[in-house]
């Protein structure tokens, strides 16, 4: 019952956050000067079409761009709730249809990356903490800091260059031509998955290594560890059975941030590596000031962060009763 109340409270907070985010998103995407019609007019003129002032005014009223901001926002928000996310001006397709086209690939890459991040980060962090100030720890720490500092897209370009020098083939795109139809094309797909996954997971993994290592080192000197050692419990059991329980906390609480990192990281990386994800579509939507499409994608990305935080909050509450207690005292 207590847990349920806590979860309901969290859900309510998440909903409020989402509404605020939707307003902020709609506000920010309208910030650049001009609107979709201006972009369209510039393109029409470039193609040699004749555009008069009246045409421009007509187009603006046709797309409802002459209405006040708040009216446009509420129209949009109502649509979101009722499943009508609006029509993309640029693609002339429903925003939901356009998002669905690439959402699968986006989530697939994000999920693979997330799993990959945990698989490499946690063992490395444990090794690093258990062998503090050893050569191995220094190497891992060095790589960790570099990985945190280097932007995704730069890493993507570097890896692309290296793979080009090694194989003579530029690794771009995700799916082999003609899609995945047989075993060799699936292998080709896996090969193309390597660089994006490495690139997108690097900064998340490096951050996680730092956090887990620090937490584990903290635990190493605590009295209960000393007591366990005195009782003759093996180091292995101390680490995995006792200390790791404490370490789960930072692993779980980092989830929300990591999901957002993966989602945003994949946007820019996708553009560099030509991945068929939301990235290139979001860029196009922003460039052409396609308000509903960019709004839709940004809202989904923001929602994922909120949901990620929600999940980590709930998991934390389950894993660590102290947190719920703190909440209740407040």
């Amino acid at each position: 019952m207590d847990n349920l109340g806590y979860i309901i409270k969290r859900l309510g907070l998440a909903a409020v956050t989402l509404i605020l985010i939707s307003f902020a998103v709609f506000f920010i995407i309208q910030l650049p000067p001009g609107d979709f019609v201006d972009t369209m007019v510039a393109n029409m003129i470039r193609q040699g079409e004749v555009v008069t002032q009246e045409d421009i005014i007509n187009l603006k009223s046709m797309y409802g761009l002459d209405r006040p901001f708040v009216v446009q926002y509420f129209g949009w928000f109502k649509g979101i709730l009722t499943g009508n996310w609006g029509t993309s001006y640029y693609y002339n397709q429903s925003v939901l249809v356009k998002i669905k086209e690439t959402l699968g690939t986006t989530l697939m890459i994000s999920f693979v990356t997330l799993v990959f991040t945990y698989i490499i980060a946690v063992p490395i962090a444990i090794y690093s903490a258990k062998h503090q100030y050893s050569i191995g720890d220094y190497i891992v720490t060095f790589i960790g800091f570099v990985g945190l500092a280097v932007p995704h897209f730069l890493l993507a370009i570097l890896l692309m260059y290296v793979s080009f020098r090694l194989t003579g083939k530029p690794l771009m795109g995700l799916f082999p031509e003609g899609g995945i139809t047989d075993w060799p094309s699936f292998l080709e797909f896996l090969k193309r998955l390597i660089i994006p996954v490495i690139v997108i997971s690097t900064s998340g993994a490096c951050g996680l290594i730092r956090r887990v290592r620090a937490q584990l080192l903290d635990e190493q000197g605590k009295p209960y560890v000393l007591c366990l050692r005195a009782k003759g419990v093996t180091e292995r059991a101390i680490t995995f059975k006792y200390a790791m329980r404490q370490v789960l906390n930072p692993i779980v609480s980092g989830l929300g941030g990591m999901i957002s990192g993966i989602f945003n990281g994949s946007t820019i990386t996708a553009i560099v590596l030509m991945l068929p994800t939301q990235g290139p579509i979001l860029l196009k939507a922003l460039q052409t000031q396609d308000v509903y499409l960019s709004g839709g994608i940004l809202l989904i990305s923001a929602s994922l962060v909120v949901i990620g935080n929600l999940i980590s909050d709930i998991l934390l509450a389950v894993l660590d009763p102290r947190i719920k207690l703190l909440e209740e005292i407040k």
């Binding site: 000067p33 397709q93 771009m172 031509e177 030509m274």
Partner: protein
């Protein structure tokens, strides 16, 4: 005896000829891929797919008889419909490959006019078919014109004014100038009449001697499949009893289109512009093109957009093989120029344009597999040209910009060699903005006019037209009779590229006391329409002002250098709507343009030539657009296995860019 033997000879020859003709008629060959489909019964035999033997087009620009098969890999970006489109485009009339500026029949079999060029007759090819197998006839052309290309017209074929009752825009929303003439100051739309299935006439209220050229530039295709579009076009004339084109409402048309095209257009006019004008965006639309799409993924980065051989394509080579030779053209959709360069360097593209900056990067690693082929352009300048708006809103500046001495000073104050090294890796050479050798209007004197680097003379010129200047570092000249600096505000839309030009001009013009400022305006093209651009970087690229004048003659609201003069002409020579009435040499340009439009009769060619020369002469005299460097040719990186890719063809909009390569006759030797 002698008479009899000659009769026999004639008979024999006649029989032989008949035999050859009948063999010829039945000896068309087709790609193995299609023969397979014919064998399975999924496709009619090649003779039934091609027009009748006498009407089949034997491609005259064929370079060598090729063999079938293979896919050509090219690249485009995710808004590249104008890029890959021309590769496969087939227009009613097309410009000849020789760069003469003359048109020849393409989809049309023949065209001719009456004596005063008021009635044009166009013959089509009997038995020609759309890519879905449906016959292509004069109905498709007349339907396209009457129901998709014309706005609301009065009974006398003058357009209904935009604000009048009963007005509606053309289905495609494009008001094509090629179908109108001006008589007594009023615009009249042509009338299309079907004579029979394969002949129609176009009748004008006044002579239209350049009709085929105008169509080739302005409308290009001039037809769309009636049997397909009748479901998406709402009849405006109210006729209900036509079974080939039943009356439907706009709502029904929109619903049909959204259903069949899988789109969510929210109104009729967006839908009609999209499928009526940009019809080649959609694989579902039957085409006459050489290659046709199977999917609509041309706007998805990272994917391969494939255009496959049109089984009903209506051209053959000199041996009777149905074209095209290639199975397909694969367009790799890439947005980033660096990614394209990487693909080029890896040798993965069969034909791709080389950016000047990437030349060495992509040519060196592909030396053994690819070659460089160059095409010429009709650009007047490399890198950029500087256009000072002749109708700048600030009257003091307008006076300066209109002064030829000011423009001369700006031209000679720039060290073009330095510019060449900085911007073009030294690949270009100093030059004024002017037609290049080989182009119409080429004049060696014009190319070198005001190009000698001479800061001293520039200062002397400016001393005559500005307040005295003591040349103190960090100060600028003042405009005559004012206390304001001589400054040029250049509107730029892309700081990453144009910012370099600004910096270079700033350092050059400091020495003559002219301040250069930049104004980042992503919508600079739109700002031109309202005369809000004082100066911008502008290029000229034209075949002839008789074919497409808008870049160098103020005949529409379009270009930065002539600003509001174009508005004045577009509005019907009135200053009521922001237009400014031209005088002097600009007015002369307009006069020359109108003389070209009105030219008719036996002296037409001469009148046109004289006035075209006059337009060039006026530009040479005034240098309204200041150029600095010579344009570079368009370099293609071409796989050595590609056959029949022509060299030295002109790359320009009027000639439809890559269309000149005649993709249907390209083949792969591998």
């Amino acid at each position: 005896m002698k008479k009899r033997s000659s009769l026999v000879a004639v008979l024999v020859v006649g029989i032989v000829l008949l035999f050859v003709a009948s063999v010829g008629a039945n000896s068309f060959k087709e790609a193995p891929m299609l023969a397979e489909l014919v064998k399975k019964g999924e496709l009619p035999p090649v003779e039934e797919r091609l027009p009748v033997a006498s009407d089949v087009m034997v491609e005259p620009d064929l370079m060598s008889v090729g063999k079938y098969g293979g896919s050509l890999v090219i690249t485009s970006n995710d808004s590249g419909r104008w890029d890959w489109g021309p590769w496969v485009e087939q227009s009613m009339f097309r410009f000849k490959q020789d760069g003469s500026g003359q048109v020849e029949p393409n989809v049309a079999k023949a065209f001719y006019s009456n004596e005063d060029a008021t009635v044009w007759t166009i013959e089509l090819r009997e038995g020609m078919r759309w890519s879905d197998g449906h016959p292509f006839t004069a109905d498709d052309v007349v339907f396209y014109y009457d129901h998709m290309s014309t706005p609301a017209l009065n009974p006398d074929r003058t357009p209904v004014p935009v604000d009048a009752e009963g007005y509606y825009p053309a289905y495609t929303s494009k008001p094509y100038n090629c179908y109108t003439v001006i008589k007594d100051g009023k615009t009249y739309w042509a009338e299309f009449n079907k004579i029979d299935d394969y002949t129609f006439t176009v009748t004008f209220a006044a002579p239209k001697p350049n009709f085929p050229e105008a169509v080739a530039v302005d409308n290009k295709w001039m037809f769309l499949p009636k049997h397909f579009y009748k479901n998406y076009v709402a009849r405006k004339d109210g006729v209900t009893d036509d079974p080939t084109f039943p009356l439907i409402t706009e709502e029904e048309a929109l619903a049909n289109a959204n259903r069949d095209f899988g789109m969510q257009w929210d109104n009729y006019s967006t839908m009609s512009r999209s499928i009526g004008y940009y019809h080649w965006d959609y694989a579902i639309v039957p085409q006459l093109r050489s290659f046709i799409a199977v999917k609509n993924n041309w706007n998805r980065v990272g994917e391969v957009y494939e255009l496959v051989r049109n089984p009903y394509f209506w051209k053959v080579d000199s041996d009777g093989n149905q074209l095209p030779y290639l199975d397909s053209i694969k367009v790799v959709i890439i947005n980033d120029a660096e990614q394209t360069a990487l693909k080029q360097a890896a040798g993965e593209l069969d034909i791709s344009p080389i950016r000047p900056a990437d030349y060495a990067t992509v040519v060196r690693p592909t030396q053994s597999t690819h070659s460089v082929v160059s095409w010429s352009t009709l650009d007047w300048q490399g890198a950029f040209g500087l256009a000072l708006c002749q109708t700048a809103k600030d009257l003091d500046k307008r006076a300066l910009f209109q002064d030829a001495r000011f423009r001369e000073a700006l031209s000679i104050a720039v060290d073009r060699n330095l510019l060449n090294m900085t911007l073009m890796n030294g690949q270009s050479r100093p030059q004024q903005a002017a037609p290049s050798p080989g182009a119409l209007g080429y004049d060696p004197e014009w190319l070198t006019k005001w190009t000698e680097y001479n800061v001293e003379r520039a200062n002397q010129l400016l001393d005559e037209i500005t307040e005295p200047w003591d040349r103190k570092e960090g100060t600028y000249r003042k405009m005559k009779g004012t206390n304001r600096d001589v400054e040029i505000v250049i509107s730029i839309s892309d700081p990453s590229v144009e910012g370099n030009y600004i910096t270079l001009l700033q350092s050059a013009y400091k020495a003559i006391g002219v301040k250069v400022l930049d104004k980042v305006d992503p919508e600079v093209m739109k700002s031109v329409l309202t005369n809000d651009v004082e100066a911008k970087f502008e290029g000229v690229s034209i075949t002839s002002p008789a074919i497409r004048p808008d870049q160098i003659v103020p005949m529409r609201n379009f270009s930065g250098w002539y600003g509001a003069y174009g508005k004045w002409f577009e509005d019907g020579k009135t200053t009521a709507n922001g237009g400014i009435e031209p005088t002097g040499d600009i007015l002369e340009l307009i006069n020359a343009y109108e003389a070209i439009k009105a030219a008719a009769g036996p002296d037409r060619d001469q009148i046109v030539a004289e006035n075209v020369a006059k337009i060039y002469e006026l530009h040479k005299k005034n240098i309204w657009i200041i150029g600095f460097l010579a344009p570079l040719p368009r370099y293609w990186l071409v796989n050595n296995a590609v056959r029949n890719f022509p060299e030295n063809v002109v790359w320009c909009d009027e000639y439809r860019f890559a269309s000149m390569a005649r993709a249907e006759q390209l083949w792969l030797d591998r």
